[in-house]
């Protein structure tokens, strides 16, 4: 995830997360991680992290269990597609 600790001297712009606002508002489907299926949570070890690797938004963390920053997640569903054990499911926002 992005950080706001950039020490570069900038004239006008301030680099950091959320330049387009809370992009999580764009989401139509919410990714939910099932800790019982997730390899990293099950083994309690840093293992595959494919969801982190393939996230275009960089909102996944490489933690155990992996967590999603829902403030900026746009809900594209790539993490659910690449998960080798189908631990992530996409749930329609209106059903929550």
């Amino acid at each position: 995830m992005g950080t706001r600790d950039c020490n570069h001297i900038c004239d006008e712009s301030s680099p950091g997360i959320g330049e387009a606002g809370k992009t999580g508002e764009w989401r139509t489907h919410l990714p939910v991680i099932d800790d019982k299926k997730c390899t990293a949570s099950k083994l309690n070890k840093p293992t595959c992290f494919l969801c982190w690797l393939y996230c275009p938004e960089a909102v996944m963390t490489k933690g155990i269990p992996p967590s999603i920053d829902l403030e900026y997640c746009k809900g594209c569903g790539i993490c659910a597609q690449v998960c080798p054990v189908q631990a992530i499911t996409m749930i329609a926002e209106e059903k929550i």
Partner: protein
Amino acid sequence: METLSIYAPKLITSREYIASGHRACSGCGEVLAMRYVCKALGRNTIISNATGCMEIISTPLPQTAWEVPWIHTLFENASAVASGIECGLKALKRKHGYTREVKVVAMGGDGATADIGLQSLSGAMERGHDFIYVCYDNEAYMNTGIQRSSETPFGASTTTAPSGKASMGQHTWQKNMAAIAAAHEIQYVATSCSSYPFDIMTKVEKAIKIKGPSYIHILSVCPTGWRCPSNSTIKMGRLAVETGIFPMYEIENGKYTLNIDLPKLRPVEDYLKLQGRFRHLDKDNTAEIQEKVLDEYNKVKRLAAGNKAK
């Protein structure tokens, strides 16, 4: 990350140089490729970015998502600005004892690379500036609303080359940018795809080590312009490589290496039928595309095999 066989995302740095919360469409393959490129480049980088998707999504004026020095240039002069920066750094080193090793990187979409910015790219490569050019090829001018570019594949429907009764969409074949770059006899040219993170990072790391110009062409899946679901980004990129539509290879000092050499290619239908922009194609068109794809793929394969024989 010496070879593709090492499979360990946990070894990749978790530092992000393009912050989350940017304006890219959900499921954008281009920003994904840019994320990998920036991870491999690291902090000592100056980026000169041509107008295009990656510029407009990351920098509306008061804010920016970039955490490395970055400059916006026009479509036509990303490489010219990069060569200027590189010369400036050289002068700093010569006159003022500046010691940091900084890599200059020019970035652009396929429009900024193959159409509008080709002259400045060609000039910069010919002059031999020490820089990397990264082209994010999403096969049309996506940021202005899917207009055709010279990288748009044959048969694709775009807003300026629409399919209908009179036309079948784009009627010309793609420009081979990697071959154009290789014709400048630069040390390193590579093609990669947004669905292969380790491949991108290995290639960028190779390019950093080279003193002189290098060119990396990355096929970046665009779900909005290709008319496919946002979650199919990774699958679509892999299919492009597995069908042979986009062969992933590198040219080091004129030596070709095919990075992913499959024993049997998948039929192109697997790739075409999943995308809305190819929906109108009939069997004859598909057969024509299949023939051309095999032809191009075998050309690269022969070049790679020729090197092995030597």
